[in-house]
Amino acid sequence: MEHNQKIKEILIEKFKEKVLSVKTDLGDAVVQVEKDAVEEVLEFLKKKPQDYSMLLDLTCVDYTGKKPRFEIVYHVFSLSKNHRLRIKCGVSEKDPEIDSVSGLWRNANWLEREVYDMFGIRFKGHPDLRRLFMYDGFEGYPLRKDYPLRKRQPKIKLRK
C-alpha cells in the first residue's frame, strides 16, 4: 500500500500537468497520462530507483461514444519492490498514433503489432509494423466495436 502512495507522489512531482489523474482501484494503482508524455513517463519508471523492469501487458480498449475513443493500457511490474502499476492514456479516432516503447522493452514489439492488427492504432518508431494474427489481405480491424462478430471476408486467390 505504501508503494502505491509513494509512486503517486513521485509521478505527480516530476510530471506536473501531464499526469491527468492518479487513483487506487481495488488495490492497484492506476495512473492516467497524456498521450504525448507516455514514452517519457515509462522511461522514467524503467530506470532505477523506480526499477519497473518488466512490461507485463500492453492492450487497448475501445470506448465508442466517448472521447477519446481508444485507451491504451500498460501494466508494468517491479521485481525488486514486487509492485504492479497500471498506466493508461487516451488515443483519439481521428489521429490513431502513439509513440512506441519497443526500444525500452523488447516484448513490446509483438504486443504493439497485436494492437495494430486488432484495433488499427499505429505506433511511431516501431521497427516492423505488420499484422500478427490475421492473414495478409484481411480488411478491417476485428476487435473494434463496429466490426460484427460473424463478418465474412472477401475471397482471396489460393497462392501457387
Binding site: 490475421m134 492473414y135 476485428p142 466490426y147 462478430l149 460473424r150 463478418k151 465474412r152 471476408q153 489460393l158 497462392r159
Partner: protein, 174 residues
C-alpha cells in the same frame, strides 16, 4: 435331411461401364490389405491433439488396428487426420496438403471444431472442413474420448473394405 440348398454361382469377372474389370474376390482381398495398413498424417492444431496423443499411446493403442505408422509426408500417406480447429489463415495449408496426397486417400474430421466450427462461430474460423475438402468420417466431441477415435477408425476400415477399389496406377492429376 433338410432342404437342398442351391449352389450359388459366383461370377468373378464382370464388365463395367468404363471398359475395365471389377472382380469381387480380388476386390475383397485388396480392401483387406488396404484397411490394415493405413499410413496416417496427423494434421494437429488444437486441444483435440491431446486426445489424439492419448489414443496413440499405450493405454488405448491404435497401432493394434494397423493405423500405427505416422508419416509426415503427404505423398506417402493414405489418411489425413484433421484434429482441431481450422482457421481461415490455415485453410490454404490444409487444401495444399490434401491435394498433395495420392489416391486412394481418406479424410477423418476429428473433434467438433473440424466437423462444424465447434463453439467458435466468428470471423476467424472455418465452419467445418467439409467446406474445403471431402470428408469420410466425422467424429463429434469436444474433445472426443479416445474410444470414440478408435470407433471411427473401425468404421473407416469397414468403408475401405466394402468400397469399389481403385486399381489404376497411372493417375495423372491436372
Amino acid at each position: 435331411m433338410g432342404k437342398i440348398r442351391p449352389i450359388k454361382k459366383y461370377s468373378y469377372y464382370q464388365k463395367t461401364s468404363h471398359g475395365g474389370f471389377i472382380a469381387t474376390k480380388p476386390n475383397y482381398a485388396i480392401g483387406w490389405g488396404r484397411k490394415y495398413s493405413i499410413f496416417h498424417y496427423p494434421f494437429i492444431t488444437a486441444c483435440c491433439g491431446m486426445e489424439y496423443m492419448s489414443a496413440a499411446c499405450a493405454h488405448w493403442d491404435f497401432d493394434r488396428f494397423g493405423v500405427g505408422m505416422t508419416t509426415f509426408s503427404p505423398r506417402q500417406s493414405d489418411l489425413l487426420f484433421v484434429v482441431g480447429t481450422i482457421t481461415h489463415k490455415e485453410a490454404p495449408v490444409l487444401k495444399t496438403v490434401y491435394e498433395q496426397m495420392v489416391e486412394p486417400k481418406w479424410v477423418i474430421a476429428c473433434g467438433a471444431c473440424a466437423v462444424s466450427g465447434g463453439i467458435y462461430d466468428n470471423y476467424a474460423v472455418v465452419q467445418g472442413i467439409d467446406k474445403i475438402i471431402p470428408v469420410d468420417v466425422y467424429i463429434p466431441g469436444c474433445p472426443p474420448r479416445p474410444e470414440t477415435i478408435l470407433n471411427a477408425l473401425l468404421k473407416l476400415q469397414d468403408k475401405i473394405q466394402h468400397q469399389k477399389q481403385d486399381l489404376r496406377w497411372n493417375i495423372i492429376k491436372k
